[in-house]
């Protein structure tokens, strides 16, 4: 039973990382109809920024140093994402397919560039020892990183919910997702909201990249980590319903739990190691057959 609790916490932590990625994808798609394939590279660049800082920072092994590393990872993701929107997406307004294709090209180019600079060998981020330790909860030992990921996920969800409901720009983003032309007709600059959702999504992705490396990958960063996570984030967004933040949160938890439970209870047998990943695809197929618009999506 207590093993079950430990696995559940691990699944929730994984779901939190998925949510950090999916929330940005969902906000961007909801407002702009752009499916951002470059989200994976925001993630990877965030993790690499964290690695570069932590390898130079003398206090990287302390809690304050890790907070700083996380802040830099988020900032790096945000800056790259904002630049992507301004330089590549903006000239292509009104051409949604070209926007998707340009993000694919950006991902291809930047992953190649990272491979050229760092090589295909993974690097290790310096983190506080506490983060890689475990906490005993009854008879179970739960990795501290799980709690950090879970806490970050909940905090970002709360912050985004508050931002979308209470602030002027949050309301513009929600209104724009509902009816872009109407918002524009009211004299509001929607273009600024476009840059803003990219910035927010990029920051969350940068943070997710760092957390994924630290919590689930033993501190390793490699150039293709973003692309692998991105596919699961896409699945989360589609299950939750494109454009729905609450849907993304629910789907992220669902996907994280399914993946972890199946891997743990069935994946131990030989030849079934990837069953956890495959089961997530099955969940997607079932949800789409029952509700083509996703859990909380508007029916198309």
């Amino acid at each position: 039973m207590s093993t079950f609790v430990a696995i559940t916490i691990s699944g929730l932590a994984l779901g939190s990382v998925y949510f950090l990625i999916a929330s940005g994808l969902s906000l961007i798609y909801g407002l702009m109809d752009v499916l951002n394939f470059a989200h994976g590279i925001f993630l990877t660049l965030g993790a690499y920024a964290g690695f570069e800082l932590a390898s130079r920072l003398p206090i990287a092994a302390h809690a304050a140093g890790f907070l700083l590393t996380a802040a830099v990872a988020a900032a790096c993701g945000a800056v790259i994402a904002a630049m992507t929107e301004l330089v590549l997406i903006r000239p292509l307004y009104g051409r949604p397919v070209s926007q998707i294709l340009v993000t694919i090209g950006l991902d291809l180019a930047l992953v190649g560039l990272l491979l050229g600079i760092y090589g295909s060998n993974a690097r290790v981020i310096t983190v506080p020892a506490w983060l890689t330790g475990v906490t005993s909860l009854g008879s179970e030992r739960i990795p501290n990183g799980d709690f950090v990921a879970l806490g970050t996920g909940v905090a970002v969800l709360a912050a985004l919910a508050w931002f979308l409901r209470q602030t002027r720009y949050g309301i513009i983003i929600r209104a724009g997702a509902e009816n872009r032309d109407m918002v524009r007709a009211l004299g509001i600059n929607v273009g600024r909201a476009f840059t803003l959702v990219f910035t927010i999504g990029g920051a969350a992705a940068g943070l997710a990249g760092l957390l994924n490396s630290v919590v689930f990958n033993g501190g390793l960063v490699d150039p293709s980590q973003g692309d692998q996570l991105l596919i699961f984030a896409f699945i989360v967004v589609v299950i939750g319903g494109l454009g729905s933040l609450a849907g993304s949160a629910i789907a992220a938890v669902l996907v994280g739990l399914v993946q972890v439970y199946v891997s743990f209870y069935a994946g131990a047998s030989a030849g079934l190691a990837q069953l956890g990943n495959v089961s997530v695809v099955l969940v997607l197929a079932i949800v789409l057959l029952a509700r083509p618009g996703g859990l909380l999506g508007r029916t198309a």
Partner: protein, 386 residues
Amino acid sequence: MSSVLGSDQPAAERHEAGTRRALARLGGRLAGAGPAGTPRRGGGRTGVIVTGCVLVILAVLPLATLQIPWILPGPVDVLNSAGTLEVLGLCFVFAGVAVGFDLLIGYTGLLSFGQVLYFATGVYVLDAALSVWHWALLPAAALTMAVGGVLAVLLGSISLKARGIAFAMVTLAFAQAGYYLIEDNPHGLTGGDSGLVMSTSRLPGMLVGVASTRSLYWLTLAFLVAAYGITWLVTESVTGQVFLAIRESERRTEVLGLRPFPFKLASFAISSLIATAGGMVYLLLVGTAAPEAVASTTVTVSILVMVVLGGLGTRWGAVVGAIVYVYLQQYLLKIAAEPSFSALPAPVRVPLSQPDFLLGAIFIAFILFAPGGIAGLARKRRPAKT
């Protein structure tokens, strides 16, 4: 918006006109007006002559011992060297797969991100049949095509329930599931992470050993011609007109009294089967199946880049795009291996040593400045005769 790609016309009027034209042609054909209303695009007879000449040159190319320094991607600068022929073969395989993919995304407007699944099916089912079960080539190939067809119809019917972006995501997810299954190495059929080398014991002699280079080259060329021919036949048929109509407006097609679903599934299945056949030819050419090279999402992205680089919905654009892509990739790798290359300063050398970086940058430049791809550039250079 039912079809993603139909919505991406630069000017709304052109989009409207395109819809009307496609639907009018379709309506005329259905009413029994015959093909009279179909204006011939391309150069007609000139196009046939040019295509014929290019084909003849490509077919006799393995017999030419011409030395062309610098241009050729192989390690030796001789036109019919094994290295050059193999790179050209690879170009033709991907050109065939790309033209099949163009049928799906360019002509039917269905943006799929799962094309690699059917390519990988071709590679891995044939490999397992030849190397694990030791079947002869013909039954193995027949089995592979059957598996590819069943898989395409089955997964196609499920993923076509979703529309637009959701369709793209579902196909992506299925392809990823396939990748994970291959990595899992069920019953030792795929070799897992390390891949599965093809056993040549049951292959006909002409496909084995040093002498096989030429026959494999001709095989890839034959595959490209077949893939192009099938795509050409389909797109010029009434069914192809329905594909175009679905791309332009699925709802209007329905109003005309046609159920789009079987047509979309047909397009999906034909395109997937071409990819499966391409996978088989790839295996015979390369001789080994590795999950990263034939089953990962990277392959889908490559095929997509080839088609878009060449120009969506133009057939020959996809062929040119694929050949340019594969050739550049191999050629850039050759350049990066030159001894003089390592003398370059790091800020120049590092980006240039990564074909993906350069291809990605070229792709972005095309999207921003020449969205019609190579075919669009060619059309602009040589305006249509009135």
